[in-house]
């Protein structure tokens, strides 16, 4: 474990605080947008009846959201956290656009 001195130096800097803020933004807003996209795509493409696909997608969304949040705080840096959200989000948005899910 890191000694007290090092921890306080690492945790009190402005840089550190901004990084935490950035991650929190990524987790709450980024995580929600990514989850919403995943839910939209799953609701459209899951191979079952429409109402069933919608319900399945929505039921699974909270597990997805939790994973996204865990990822954001587990990533090595705030930048990596954002990238880890943005890449799948773009892929899902592309899929959604192809499937005419988005307006």
């Amino acid at each position: 474990m890191v000694s007290d001195k090092m921890t306080s130096a690492a945790t009190s800097g402005l840089r550190y605080r901004l990084a935490v803020l950035s991650r929190t933004l990524a987790a709450v807003a980024g995580g929600y947008v990514l989850t919403a996209l995943a839910t939209m795509v799953a609701a459209r493409f899951l191979p079952m009846g429409r109402a069933d696909a919608v319900m399945t997608a929505t039921m699974l969304s909270f597990a997805f959201f939790t994973c996204a949040v865990i990822w954001v705080y587990a990533a090595r840096s705030a930048w990596r956290a954002w990238c880890g959200l943005a890449v799948p989000a773009l892929a899902l948005a592309l899929l959604a656009w192809c499937g005419r899910v988005l307006p």
Binding site: A43, D52, T58, M59, F65, T66, I70
Partner: protein, 551 residues
């Protein structure tokens, strides 16, 4: 967060938990009580305790209810008749007044035009003698609608807190290296270590329950929190409305009134046909849309069978000709049953009283888990500031706030609940606005505890509030002796029941005893500390093991 995975997860766990813990305490307390919603309602209406449930057939009960509604609210937009079952004695009737009849409130939502009354299934007359109370229904609504807030806001607040809790549970499990070994570890009287052990024990003991109840709670509100799947898949059909009509049969038969009067068909006859349709299974609910209109419909819902799923099939009839229009929810899809089962798990309506008691205990475990977690943060932070505090500095603002909020919530909530029950027994039965006053007193008692906690968040205050909670809880069964004819002496010692009322009293005694035990342990701890302080500060230094704990 720059260290390893476990450290990041510990950080996430700490802040996810701490930010919402006081709301979670309220949600756990209200939710646990809701498992015995009907029993609490019965307990809070002593006038009903003596009434031997006169055997009335469901058809008779519906006939009486329809006659009562015809006379009380002939112009209503919708009637609801909730039939009595094994858990509730009285029959509830409700109606949504038409916007025209509601007058000034015309612009308001149907919810605010909703009125409900309890009537005697045998006579069809309102139970006028029964005191006006929201009973367990208030605690149930408090669990997800809070109070004094627009419902939609409250549900969002509770949902966000539930999402935080879900993340806190998962990150807590990840960060916990020796989850099984630690469960069997308890070091008492070791300060911070003991709080950590207690937090682990209460969290791991009921971990499947905590995870289940959080996730299924989110499922119950999932179309509000995550509406995007519905929005996109049903975009061409006009969005949510089309989806709900397809999936939830409860809203079936909601058509616009024609504005032409027509007599309502016989409801008991419809009920009989529904009963035959379901091979004699009992009915739960009769809804009449546009009673007295040419476009009236009647929706009859079957009682839930003893299955996990909360889904109930319904039959829709034409309210004038009596023709069957539709049968909804007869063969739900696997997905619908899955969702029904998840919601059913949350509500636990399927469970018998003993299983619900287990759920109740798990809920209390959740309360203790959140409480010990919040206390652990405060103890740990105080430890960090110990040197400065000894040197004469004040505790930091955040620490002081958390300590006071902890005290006001953990020890204050029992006082609020007890205050609600005391108000139920002591407010005059004839008082106007009685039900609302009981609720105001719940919050007044809580506010008093919370404000006192903010003024003086000391160990003495903890002892005072825990002790007050204990006295209030232990006093309730005693108060019953003076205010009701169905106290424990009658229900238990003479064995006359009702058992639900005896169970409530015994639970109050048990909760009061636990609070008293907590208060007395605290007193002992305080005495020991006082003696140590008198003997000199030689043993003040913290155990080295404490400093090594993961943050």
């Amino acid at each position: 967060m720059k260290e390893g995975l476990r450290q990041s997860m510990a950080w996430l766990h700490t802040w996810c938990g701490l930010l919402v813990c006081w709301v979670l305490l309220l949600v756990f307390a209200g939710g646990s009580a809701s498992y015995f919603k009907e029993e609490i309602s019965l307990w809070m209406m002593p006038e009903l305790h003596a009434s031997a449930a006169a055997p009335v057939t469901q058809a008779q009960a519906i006939e009486r209810a329809a006659a009562y509604l015809q006379q009380r609210a002939p112009q209503a937009e919708r009637w609801f008749i909730t039939l009595p079952d094994q858990r509730s004695v009285a029959m509830r009737v409700g109606w949504i007044a038409s916007p025209a009849a509601a007058g000034k409130e015309a612009a308001s939502s149907p919810r605010s035009r909703f009125k409900s009354e309890r009537i005697d299934a045998a006579t069809g007359q309102p139970l006028a003698r029964v005191r006006d109370t929201r009973g367990g229904e208030f605690l149930y609504r408090l669990h997800f609608d809070l109070h004094y807030l627009p419902v939609q806001w409250a549900r969002w607040i509770v949902s966000v807190c539930a999402l935080f809790m879900l993340v806190a549970i998962v990150s807590g499990v990840i960060t916990h290296r020796r989850i099984f070994a630690d469960f069997f570890t308890f070091r008492r009287n070791k300060g911070q270590r003991s709080w950590l052990d207690a937090h682990n024990a209460t969290a791991v003991l009921a971990l499947p329950f905590h995870l289940m109840i959080t996730y299924t709670g989110l499922i119950t509100l999932m179309f509000m929190i995550m509406p995007w799947g519905v929005q996109t898949a049903y975009r061409e059909q006009g969005g949510e409305k089309a989806f709900f009509e397809e999936v939830f049969p409860g809203g079936a038969g909601r058509v616009k009134a024609a504005g032409v009067a027509a007599p309502l068909t016989s409801l008991p006859a419809l009920a009989e046909r529904a009963r035959q349709h379901w091979q004699g299974a009992p009915l739960a609910l009769v809804v009449v849309n546009n009673p007295g209109d040419a476009k009236a419909t009647a929706v009859i819902t079957r009682q839930k069978l003893a299955t996990l799923s909360s889904l109930q099939p319904a039959l829709v009839f034409d309210g004038v000709s009596g023709r069957q229009l539709a049968a909804a929810g007869e063969a739900p899809s696997a997905t619908a049953v899955t969702r029904g089962a998840l919601v059913g798990l949350h509500l636990a309506h399927f469970a018998d009283p003993w299983l619900r008691a287990l759920f109740f205990l798990c809920g209390l475990c959740g309360y203790l888990m959140v409480a010990t977690g919040a206390l652990l943060w405060a103890v740990k932070t105080r430890q960090k500031q110990a040197k400065a505090i000894v040197a004469g500095a004040r505790a930091g603002f955040g620490l002081r706030l958390v300590e006071a909020l902890n005290l006001g919530a953990i020890a204050g909530l029992p006082i609020a609940f007890a205050g609600y029950f005391w108000a139920n027994r002591l407010l005059p039965v004839e008082m106007a606005g009685r039900a609302q006053m009981e609720i105001h007193l719940f919050f007044a008692a809580w506010a008093l505890a919370a404000v006192l906690a903010q003024i003086r968040p000391s160990l003495g205050m903890w002892r005072l509030q825990l002790g007050a909670g204990a006295l209030l809880f232990l006093g309730l069964p005693l108060l019953n002796v003076f205010t009701t004819d169905s106290h424990l002496g009658v229900t238990l010692l003479q064995g006359r029941g009702p058992w639900a009322v005896a169970g409530c009293d015994l639970t109050l005694l048990a909760l009061g005893s636990v609070l008293a035990l907590a208060a007395s342990l605290l007193a002992r701890h305080q005495r020991a500390r006082h003696e140590r302080a008198v003997q000199g500060p030689a043993r003040r230094t913290a155990h080295p093991a404490v400093a090594k704990e993961i943050t």
